[in-house]
Amino acid sequence: MIDNASSVPIGKAAGAGTAAMPGGGPASSPEADAPLLEVRGLRVTLPTARGPVQVLRDVSFTMARGQTLGIIGESGCGKSLTALALMGLLPEGAQVSGSIRLDGQELTTLDEPALCRLRGARMGMVFQEPMTALNPLHTIGRQIAEPLRLHRRISASAARAEALRLLERVQLPQAAHRLDAYPHQLSGGQRQRVVIAIALSCGPGLLIADEPTTALDVTVQREVLDLIGELVAQDGMGLLLISHDLGVMARAVRHLLVMYAGAAVESGPTPEVFRRLAHPYTRGLFAARPRIGLPRGTRLETIPGRVPDLADLPPGCAFAQRCERAQDDCRRAMPAPIELARHHHVRCLRPHGQD
């Protein structure tokens, strides 16, 4: 739905200007004019006890080099599955159709060894819970050096020096001292900095961060978000940020994709999406959010009903049964994306701001 490769200034090539070079081997030679990431008609079906269920339904978006894109939505909307599909980490038995191209290279047809060479080297990953992402039995230094030795085949001492440089880049206090520390000796925010250092280690062109600050305190959350923002800008990396928090998105990404029930329902530049709130679901999310300064005793607006069961979706727009604007035609077929303004798309027959 986002088709704005041209709107974003083409950043310098990933990793240029730093010691890290994009890895990935000869098979990956990026096409210079291809967008960083192009997802087209992505559909994912998972086997469940009740039969196959389509959990991603025709998701499309494009990211230019250096672009920051946020995917927002509630539990079960498919935002994390989209990230897993990009990384080739979908659960066993998942059926994928459609296309995912990274630097012009099709990923959906790659086998596991090829994906393994790609992950870490060209796609860095940061997850919600840094304690589970790190191995409690290995030192920080060893865990940062591992991808370096795997993907860049450098010596142990060079890897250790590089690990120190990375820890300094993510502004871990007493970095030299911390190389030999274990994860439990660090705070949550410090651990997440280490995970970010590992994600950056091979100079990937794309950083995928799935709820990277959700488990952190609010002041630490801000520091980590700002750090991710700085690093992404310095390296010209693309950032795919997944979050349920509108405030986090406002702070961290220039483009936004709103997902509902496995489909992308609205996408566009963050200020545009926030200003217009075209899709009734996007608008509902905004209204439901408590914020400081509401008069005491305000009742929050809620979205009536609940998220539909993906195994039993009604025909038509999945949001129609909860939408006050829905008419009969909304229930007939899933609305095709329409362009509201340049780069601002919505899958809705009656978007706000068109009355």
Binding site: E74, Q221, L225, R289, P290, L294, L300, E301
Partner: protein
């Protein structure tokens, strides 16, 4: 049992005795010894915390990990013993009560936890879970227990027909409603809610917050509302306490604390709340 100053006709204590009165509360934890003969290091999780909460009002406790807010919740619930200080509910010192008296006092005091997945026993029906706190009211006939459970479920917007179902049949928001129904069933005066909406999606969170407000009006409940989310506390609470390192650093109505913060830590917390206006 200490006799409250005065008792109203409906069994409630006179309005000049606060519902909850916490005085000079201190809680220290001993860490494992670092050396064999050295005394074990001590962490002061709560350091001289005092406040009062009047019936029908809500008090928010905000602070980050390690600020002592969950320790405070456990002490108010009398799940742990303080190192020093008192917690009085309707004038009764909870930590001075014997086991039987404490069980009776707990009828007035219920708790809702953060995780609606972890706080419900997956092997028990909703009816069993919701009516469990009634066990302290010995001798209540089964028919009445079921009646109360059905009422509690309906009060939180579920159906009495859900009594025979199991937790896995419900969504996260519905499970939190079940947890609230369990807290309501003894007709408590005070509900200690520890991050009750933090695990919920935005739209579900709004539903549960509205429900908690409705229940407060309907039953005259008081909430001790613990949250890291300042905007939730701003919406729900009449008064707010900011905890840092076990100490109260700021206290007052949210209008004052969140709009004219005095303490640097409160200012830092507020500055870190992501604004809705895009900054990019």
């Amino acid at each position: 049992m200490p006799v409250p100053a005065a008792t109203l006709d409906d069994g409630r204590v006179s309005p000049d005795v606060p519902l909850l009165e916490v005085r000079h509360l201190v809680k220290e934890y001993h860490l494992p010894r670092e050396r064999l003969l050295a005394p074990p290091p001590v962490v002061r999780a709560l350091d001289d915390v005092s406040f009062t909460l009047q019936a029908g009002r809500s008090l928010g406790i905000v602070g980050e990990s390690g600020s002592g807010k969950s320790t405070l919740a456990r002490l108010v619930m009398a799940l742990e013993t303080p190192t020093a200080g008192t917690v009085r509910l309707d004038g009764e010192d909870l930590h001075a009560l014997g086991a039987a008296a404490l069980r009776r006092a707990r009828v007035k005091l219920q708790m809702v936890f953060q995780d609606p997945y972890g706080s419900l026993d997956p092997r028990r029906t909703v009816g069993q879970t919701v009516s469990e706190p009634l066990a302290v009211l010995q001798g209540m006939p089964r028919v009445e227990r079921l009646q109360r459970a059905a009422e509690a479920l309906e009060a939180v917007g579920l159906r009495s027909g859900d009594l025979g179902k199991y937790p896995h049949e419900f969504s996260g928001g519905q499970r939190q409603r079940i947890a609230i129904a369990r807290a309501l069933i003894t007709r408590p005066r005070l509900i200690v809610a520890d991050e009750p909406v933090s695990a919920l999606d935005v739209s579900v969170q709004a539903q549960v917050l509205n429900l908690m407000r409705d229940l407060q009006e309907r039953y005259g409940l008081s909430y001790l509302f613990i949250s890291h989310d300042l905007s939730v506390v701003d919406l729900v609470c009449d008064e707010v306490i900011v905890l840092q390192g076990g100490r109260i650093v700021e206290k007052g109505p949210p209008d004052t604390v969140f709009r004219q913060p005095v303490h640097p830590y409160t200012r830092r917390l507020l500055a870190a709340v992501p604004a809705l206006e895009p900054s990019v």
